[in-house]
Symmetry: C2
Subunit: 457 residues, 2 copies
């Protein structure tokens, strides 16, 4: 333990940076449920999955036992370009809230993709390159993942085809332009390029697209193109594995100064950031070495943990992907068009779903105007304009800190600040102009989507 | 000297961070020419200037002798929120260029204002607050300075009125929205709010504005409002003083690893970044302790150093500001509407002008398509999407590194990466679409503007 005053920002040295990813599943006594073949309902085999994903990624996806995977040196070199991410003590926020709580945030936004997504993008691109592939396909919603992947592919000279949810493609031309700078091809989804896209357009001519639909198009393109595989920026076990770098760095930084968090908070869409941030802490919890309150924060307009069911469901709208057992709202659920806060996936990582199901973590949902209030407050006090996604975690971190002000408890709160909001100013504008509503799905709506879940024994 | 391998990124510890700004003028045997009263042509006195600027800033502006100014603790606390800025070894760029040169860049873009401008914004806001003022006024072009100032004012609860050059106001709604997030009022310039704005609009009804014109409006508003002063993000001596933090951090980081640069490169608009970056190095040069090649890079479309004259000129279009002796193109010079690269001020810091005049630094001008080529190349290789302004320095750093490849010289190059290009994607789009031209002003045009320079004995 280091006894000097804790700096505003803790940066690890290169020597202190993690050299292996941590696989949380290895410490789970009850493992997450396996992916199922959508036709046979039998567990997907490595050979079935390797038509869609690179071989080494399939191995990572299916491995529930190996606790650590060495990070290849090439990936660690790339990480050095934008990592370590700082762990920041929110002194200004604490002071403004007059809270006895100590607040830390792990800031993943200091890179051009603007978020933590780059951690897995480079890993997935690396294994595709290593396998001698020509390129990869993917989908992107708000655009962070697509941007991250195009950066990684450009670095490795790999082709990159991105299907971007049509409404984002139109509303976020600048993210599209960043991807173009990195040489990616970006297609608005649904498109006429794929069978599934044409089918969806025929059935819903005016649709502005959804993540589930863009996934279907990207998968179809990958399996029907020579030397291509599909990559995904969240939900999957392999993604949580790569994102464990967030939690490992955080824990190393905290341990260096002898700090033990009481509460760990992360926003949750598909679970990539949350799963990465909490990984080593949850590991300790699973091994009975320590205890932490772990809180997932999701939008009230897309509440898979708090109002979904734990069941097998399709990962995509076109039903071409394997089935995953997860907290889900139903694969054709799409949040209200007025929803600006990201985190709009209908399901949730099966690993996190299983942990939540076992009562090892909590979940809360927050309304978007409350999220943007927290975002603006944070921007003014801490000087970083946060992404709407990240602001879900900020909201709950502030709420917990205020609770400490009331009770006088000196809790240590750590939250994940996944990214910056520089490409989300239209949402901020809507908020400033009072044009943002707090629509949440009704019980009837949710029941309807739930009734369409696949029947799995 | 530290013998371990030089890390990718050198971050100073809090203890190593500079506690005083360095005033380059103190080491100049021939001082920069004084500001003149535009009516009498006599040197501006402190009392004349204090109607426009805060008192302590006036003192800093006029002080050619004090070498160091202590940085107040409140400002150092604010600096800790986003500083130290990393000094990054461009290993990937070096490798890609197969150059024996060692390239370092000081990256000032890791903050929400997206550039180095915040370093002076917080200082100027702090002194305004300390003087008990209600608020400050300013102008902004591309918006970095306005954003930085609104962040600083929000932090100190100071009112902030920004006049934003009309074409930027319309083309960069997101920057405007960031300023709004920080509570600033933003008015497109020229406006009907000021006498000078109304006059300019009457004479040029269709004008999309200029920096010089927005300065005039901001100054008029400051002097005619109770408890307001005007602040400026570049050009002035006080700004160079505050920006010396860039160079001081850079030098401390280099000294820590025993690195001595051969070439120091910075982009130059009004001179704030360049003046700050080179300050301690130029100081050594002036004192005869070391020698460096120092290169200012400016756009070919606004070439004040390379094609301007060294003369007294107005700092603004409305001619309400003092006269400054500087390299200038004439106060009503406006670069071509097709110019996307920032750095569009007609003049140049008088301190830098005097140093250039004495032959202590070089200047080169670069065309904007060459600048964007360098920007895109750098984004791909180093993973940071640079601001167009910063990319001027990248262009010349690459050119110098390529020269080393040819000659085999192992030079050490340091350049200033002033900011990120996240709010400049329209310019990148223009570049990708092949819609960017390389118009440069003709000799006849420049002669016309030059003929309108004020006559000063």
């Amino acid at each position: 333990m280091n006894n000097e005053k804790i700096p505003y920002k803790i940066y690890l040295t290169e020597n202190e940076m993690p050299k292996a990813w941590y696989n949380l599943r290895a410490d789970m006594s009850k493992k997450p449920a396996p992916l199922l073949n959508p036709g046979t309902h039998r567990p997907m085999t490595a050979s079935e999955l390797s038509g869609v994903f690179c071989e080494e990624l399939v191995a990572q996806e299916l491995d529930n036992d190996t606790p650590y995977f060495e990070i290849p040196e090439e990936i660690r070199d790339f990480y050095k370009m934008y990592r370590p991410a700082p762990l920041i003590r929110a002194y200004c926020l604490e002071k403004k809230l007059s809270t006895p709580a100590k607040i830390y945030y792990k800031f993943e936004g200091n890179n051009t993709s603007g978020s933590h997504k780059l951690n897995s993008a480079i890993a997935q691109a690396y294994y595709a390159k290593k396998q001698g592939l020509n390129g990869v396909t993917t989908e992107t919603g708000a655009g962070q993942w697509g941007t991250a992947l195009s950066m990684a592919c450009s670095y490795l000279s790999l082709d990159c085809k991105v299907y971007m949810v049509k409404c984002s493609y139109e509303q976020k031309p600048f993210r599209r332009e960043v991807m173009r700078t990195y040489g990616a091809s970006v297609t608005p989804s649904p498109s006429m390029e794929t069978e599934v896209g044409r089918k969806i357009l025929a059935e819903h001519p005016g649709t502005t697209g959804s993540l589930g639909c863009a996934i279907s198009e990207a998968v179809e393109t990958a399996v029907s193109s020579d030397g291509y595989r599909y990559v995904l920026g969240s939900v999957l076990n392999q993604v949580l594995l790569h994102q464990s770098i967030i939690g490992l760095e955080t824990k190393t930084a905290l341990d260096k100064y002898g700090i033990k968090p009481d509460i760990i908070i992360g926003c949750a869409g598909g679970g990539s950031n949350l799963g990465g941030l909490i990984a080593p802490f949850m590991g300790e919890k699973l091994r009975g070495e320590a205890d932490y309150r772990i809180i997932a924060v999701e939008p009230a307009s897309c509440p898979s943990f708090t109002r979904g069911v734990y069941a097998y469901d399709f990962c995509d709208t076109g039903m071409v992907c394997p089935l995953a057992r997860m907290y889900t709202l139903g694969s054709d659920f799409i949040p209200s068009a007025n929803h600006s806060g990201g985190l709009r996936y209908h399901g949730m990582s099966s690993t996190l779903s299983e942990l939540y199901h076992q009562g090892l973590m909590e979940a809360v949902s927050v309304k978007q105007t409350e999220v943007f209030e927290a975002a603006e407050y944070f921007a003014k006090v801490e000087g970083i304009l946060p992404a709407p996604e990240s602001s879900h975690a900020i909201r709950v971190a502030i709420d917990e800190a205020v609770r400490c002000t009331e009770t006088g408890e000196e809790k240590t709160i750590v939250f994940g600040l996944t990214g910056t909001g520089y490409f989300d100013m239209m949402a901020y504008e809507k908020f400033h102009d009072g044009k943002m509503d707090d629509y949440v799905p009704t019980d009837e709506e949710l029941a309807l989507y739930r009734s369409r879940l696949p029947k799995v024994e």
